[in-house]
Amino acid sequence: MRYLPLTPADRQDMLAVIGAGSVDDLFVDVPASARRTGLVDLPLHAGELEVERELGALAARNRAAGQGPFFCGAGAYRHHVPASVDHIIQRSEFLTSYTPYQPEIAQGTLQYLYEFQTQVAALTGMEVANASMYDGSTGAAEAVMMATRVTRRKKAVLSGGLHPHYSSTIRTSTHVAGVDLIEQPAALDAEADVIGAIDADTACVVVQTPNVFGEATDVTKIAEAAQAAGALLIVVVTETVSLGLLKSPGSMGADIVVCEGQSIGNGLNFGGPYVGLFATREKYVRQMPGRLCGETVDADGRRGFVLTLSTREQHIRRDKATSNICTNSGLCALAFTIHMSLLGQTGLRQLAAINHAKARKLAQALGKAPGVEILTKRYFNEFAVRLPAPAAAVVETLVARGVIAGVPYSRLAPKAGMYDVLLVAATETVTSADIETFASELNGVLA
């Protein structure tokens, strides 16, 4: 077996050193009733070639986004990732290291985490950011829990524009903590409605911009209303590239910002692994979940970095910790920070501008199809359209015509009744020919 270095002779020698007759002697503490003598009913070992064949066959049964016109978004976006990003994250010293518990031999990881935190803070317009969460949705749930700790209140208001998977993730992990969730009905452009739901018991309001329908909102007034009532504004961003074009949540008064960082540096990967960005105000830092990297000096006075404020964390505080999170998304955060370092603000702005231009072009093209209405008014690279037919059926029909048309809203929220709403996204990876094909095939389907 190619991953097992011990030879049969090694094993015999080592058993002799241990003083055991056989390896079974080492499993003596296992109850006899649970000792399995034979092999489990699974295939035997296989060589690289065989494994490649088997997994290659499974991969071939999927239609990769790059195979043709592709317009899915709704929280996961197909962007071009520079080749050097994947090269660097596969370096052994990054790929095969772990959480930097020993800072003297983990400065590589710690420095990029410090750079990552600085980039995330700048991007979101916030004072501090942590070293990553699993993804945007779990980060949003953690943000709600954090708001309940900061305010010592138990009520959270979720906007109707929040991604339904995010609402569901928040609901799953906060209802057991006794959080009273006020979930507003799905609405294309009703972020300000959360203001009416704020009262003296409200810990936070959660608003997404651009929202799940693509609508971008100035949340300044929501922030003012929340803060006037002693509540926090949590802003969710599922498309981080939008921050190259749209006002930062921090500049609009957000107290906590949670982003899905997949768009920068990370592929679609069928939904994971992704990377959650989590940023807040400095005064709340001790209530933050997750790891934080901080600057310090070594015994010779040289600058260095360590994990810090870990008295918030589970390995120290156990049942009093701010979160149970341990392993986070280190390597995805590395991919993010490399890609962001390559882009710089100049490249990010340019990338965002291209995305916006592509989406406008797509909207112009689709808007001409019979019975199609563009529903989103101010969008970044994604918008909602109303179709004259159920969106899921149209999408399925377009698959046969070679186009992956987008995400029917009903797939995210089957009970919301918006069967005719389709979410479509256009990033820099979409070509003019893709847009023309989509428009003409849609015409064909709807005609």
Binding site: V51, T96, A122, T169, K247, Q350
Partner: protein, 517 residues
Amino acid sequence: MQSIGRPTQPHAVEIKPDTLTGARGLLQDELLIFEHGGWDKTGVDLPQAELDASDLGDLVRTDVIGLPGLSEPEALRHYVRLSQKNHAIDLALYPLGSCTMKHNPRLNEKMARLPGFADIHPLQPQSTVQGAIALMDQLAHWLKTLTGMPAVALSPKAGAHGELCGLLAIRAAHEARGDARKRVLVPTSAHGTNPATAAFVGYVVEEIAQTADGRVDLGDLAAKLGPDVAAIMVTNPNTCGLFEREVVEIAKLTHAAGAYFYCDGANFNAIVGRVRPADLGVDAMHINLHKTFSTPHGGGGPGAGPVVLSHALAPFAPAPWIIHHEDGLSLDEDPVGACGRMSAFHGQMGMYVRALSYMLSHGADGLRQVAEDAVLNANYIKARLSDLMTPAFDGPCMHEALFDDSWLDGTGVTTLDFAKAMIDEGFHPMTMYFPLVVHGAMLIEPTETESRDELDRFCEALRLLAQAAKEGDVERFKGAPFHAPLRRLDETLAARRPRLKWTPADEAAAKKPRAAE
């Protein structure tokens, strides 16, 4: 080569002067990306786009974002220089107990990057991702077969997230019977994530005592079980590296009290292919794909923490569920009865591919050998060090060897000092001061992917260090590490005055020539 007049042999000097720049040979003193001065630079060539943001009005960002750019060669240098300051499995044995730092096969990386897995969207039509769903189904089959459990929830994103998933299912199962319970029992030796998760799910955490031989105290467990106990959370093999001999009895007591047995599967590597958790009476157990099934630890993630579930808990598994149809597979993304959704989309697909690639490579026979070699390696280390260091418990260990610090008594050297001296000898320290129940704990997990030579090299280094400590060579330990990229770091300063991001004021200080100090 002309050698007249040139010294051909290096000559030793007594004093090694500091370098003038701060660099040390191959180790560069690398600035932060913010200190390279590339505020207007970009390393990505993008087509010029006409920015027409008239439709966005006052939503357009006008501030300076504060993100520097690097050209590709600068970026490569920056990150490669950083990488050289990290220890890694590929460099040497990485005996971090409880973390299972085994070799990460590169075939897994290649497979995960096939466009058919890497370039598919979680919400594209299910008819276009039948291979992906089939892969999830196959992974589920392997996990269920290896554990003997009837169901598995794949979506949790790491071990602690798996614990959350398991306890949510347990809570939902109790609530479905109208039997809300309040307490969760956790041994004193548990991972910190166990009590943190139980508290997160709204339970009161109570500790179970440990016996002198490092196992759950059955008497204490029986005394603390009661009608308000929702679950126990027991790691098996436990964090002392020992198999819970009475595990079947633990399960019986737990079930008799109407509670569920949550098993922390962080240490599954010790028993994979040899013991099925179902045969021990387990109701739920997470499996860290980044431990037992070799997906890379990546500097702290991403991981994946699928949770196997008993018949009683399966109906409460979170979304999505894989559904078999006559003409294919589908994902039910909003199943009735589920305890909810752990995250957006379907979990860590990239990790599923890597884990299945590893499983197929090893097969049933190889996986059983994995457990045997992991346990053999740990016992070998224990045997080779026991005359100099003090094992915390007698008898064979499982996949990790645990020592306490009583052998350091009177030397003036602590567990921390010893660990830091290991860095100078080229090894990553073991897990220190955990489990909490053992004084000055040193938890060594070699894994099965270490060769006999590497194990001997490691044991020899530890033996030399142990002898040095006992012979009074205290300076070697107190000042260590001397040969790492940095000396010991001031963690107190970092916490007392948190600096969590770079600011422009830091740049001048960083660029000040060292020689001028």
